[in-house]
C-alpha cells in the first residue's frame, strides 16, 4: 500500500493529468449524447447574463439593419391585409374560422451569442422556458431557417445552428415539390448542401428551396435559399446541390421560435405506428 502511495506521489504530475483529461472527456461525451447537457454551456446563469449585457451594447450597431428589415416585413404584411385588395365582387364570402385551426405559434427572441466559424456552431437566444420555449422547437427568421433548440434554462436557450455537422433539415424544391435533405458541410457559412434529390428531377440554378413541413419542427414553406450549383457525383443516384442561403448567419439578430401545437400528438402517433407490430 505504501509503495503504491509512493508511486502515485512520485508520478503525481502524470496522474493528475490523466484525471483531468478523463473529466474533460466525460464532459465531451456527455454533451454529445445527452441533450440535457451539463452546466458547461452558454445557457447557464453566469455566462448567459454576461452575453446578454454584451449583446445589449452590441445591439446599437445593428439598429439600422433591423429597422430596414422591419420596414420590409411591414410592407409585406400590409400587402396581405384586406385593405390592400380591391373588392371586385359585391357578394361577400364567408370565412368560417373553424376551418382554420391554428397550428403554429411564434415567440420573438434576440440572438445574444452566435458563431459561424466553427465546425459545430451554436446560438444562444434570450428567451427560455419562462417564455414558453421548449426543446426541439424550430428557430426561424422571415428569410430562413436558423436552427433547432437544444437546451433551455429559465431565461435563455441554446440553439443548434443550421451550421452544425449534425443538422439535417427536410426541404423541398419549391417549383416541383421534390423532397431532399439540407445539411452543412463546412467551411462556407453562406452555402449548404442539399442531398437525396433523384437524378431525373430537373433543377436549375436560381430555384428556390423551402422547408417541407414534414419534420414536425418547421412549418411548410419557410424560405431557405436558392440553388447556386448542382452536379452529379460519379456512381451516385442523387444530385448534389449547393444552396446559397438567403439569411446571412453572421448578421442575424432577431428570430422567431416556432411552436408546433400538434407536435406531441404527431410524434406519439408516429412512434406508436412504427413500434407496434402490424398484422394483416
Amino acid at each position: 500500500m505504501r509503495n503504491l502511495i509512493n508511486f502515485i506521489k512520485k508520478h503525481h504530475f502524470f496522474f493528475i493529468f490523466l484525471a483531468l483529461q478523463t473529466i474533460a472527456f466525460i464532459m465531451m461525451v456527455q454533451s454529445n449524447h445527452y441533450h440535457r447537457s451539463i452546466w458547461v454551456n452558454s445557457a447557464n446563469k453566469l455566462t448567459g447574463q454576461l452575453y446578454k449585457n454584451y449583446a445589449n451594447i452590441e445591439e446599437y450597431f445593428y439598429l439600422k439593419n433591423i429597422n430596414k428589415k422591419l420596414i420590409q416585413e411591414n410592407k409585406a404584411l400590409i400587402e396581405q391585409t384586406p385593405y390592400s385588395f380591391l373588392k371586385t365582387d359585391q357578394q361577400t364570402f364567408h370565412i368560417n374560422d373553424t376551418i382554420y385551426k391554428r397550428q403554429y405559434t411564434y415567440i420573438n427572441a434576440d440572438i445574444i451569442n452566435n458563431s459561424v466559424n466553427r465546425r459545430n456552431n451554436y446560438i444562444t437566444i434570450n428567451k427560455g422556458s419562462l417564455h414558453g420555449v421548449e426543446r426541439d422547437m424550430g428557430v426561424i427568421t422571415p428569410m430562413g431557417v436558423i436552427g433547432i433548440v437544444k437546451d433551455v434554462s429559465p431565461n435563455f436557450s441554446s440553439v443548434i445552428s443550421l451550421l452544425h455537422m449534425d443538422t439535417r433539415i427536410s426541404a423541398k424544391i419549391k417549383k416541383n415539390g421534390h423532397l431532399g435533405t439540407i445539411l452543412w458541410d463546412a467551411p462556407n457559412y453562406r452555402k449548404v448542401t442539399m442531398k437525396h434529390i433523384p437524378l431525373h428531377v430537373e433543377v436549375q440554378t436560381g430555384d428556390t428551396i423551402i422547408t417541407s413541413g414534414y419534420s414536425k419542427i418547421f412549418p411548410e414553406g419557410i424560405n431557405i435559399g436558392t440553388i447556386s450549383d448542382y452536379k452529379i457525383r460519379r456512381g451516385e443516384n442523387f444530385l448534389t446541390i449547393k444552396v446559397e442561403l438567403f439569411e446571412d448567419f453572421n448578421k442575424v439578430r432577431n428570430v422567431h421560435v416556432v411552436n408546433n401545437i400538434y407536435r406531441q400528438e404527431q410524434k406519439e402517433l408516429e412512434v406508436r405506428s412504427t413500434t407496434q407490430p402490424v398484422f394483416w
Binding site: 493528475i16 452558454s42 452575453y51
Partner: protein, 189 residues
Amino acid sequence: MKLDQLPSPYFGNFIFNQMQKSTLNYIGRFFIIVIIQIFVLNNIQISGYINPFFYVFLILILPFNIPKYLLLVVAFLLGITIDMFSNTAGMHASATVFMAFLRPGVIYLTSIKKEFEPKTFPGFHNMDASWIATYSIIMIFCHHTLLFFLEVFSFNEFLSTIWRSLLSSLVTFSLVFIGFMLESRPQKR
C-alpha cells in the same frame, strides 16, 4: 535525519512568498485574457474558419518553477472557462491540460539553461527571441492540433484538419508574440 525526510520547504514557501504579488497578477491576467478571448477573438474569423486561441498565452507565461500540479489545475480552469462561453464542453479543457502537461518537457528540451530562479517567467528579459518562438510554436501547435481533432472527432478529414490547425497556430503565435512583447516592457517598481 535523512535529507529527504526533512519537511519540504518547497510547497509552503512557494505559496507563502508568491501569494502576495504575483498570484494576484496572474489572477488579473486570467480574467483579462478570458475576456479578450471571448468577446474579441471568438468573433474574429479570417478566411473561412481560422480562429485564434490567444488564451493559451496564460499557460506560456506561468513561472518556470510553478508546482506541476498547480500548472495542470490552472490549465483545466482556464480551459473549462473558455468551454463555458463557447459551448464546447470539455474540448478546450482537454487541449489546454494536454499542453500544460507537455510544458515542462518542452522547456527542458529547448532551453540550454536547466535551472531557473524562482519567480522568473518566460519573457524577453531572460530568454532570447528565438527560444521564445520555438517554445511557443511547439506548445501552440500541439494545443491546436488536439483541439481541432477533438472538434471534428474523426480522422476522415485528416489533411484539412492539420492544415487548419497549422494556419490557426500561426495566427495565435503572432498574437502570443505581441503578448510577450507587452509583458516584457520595463516595469516601474
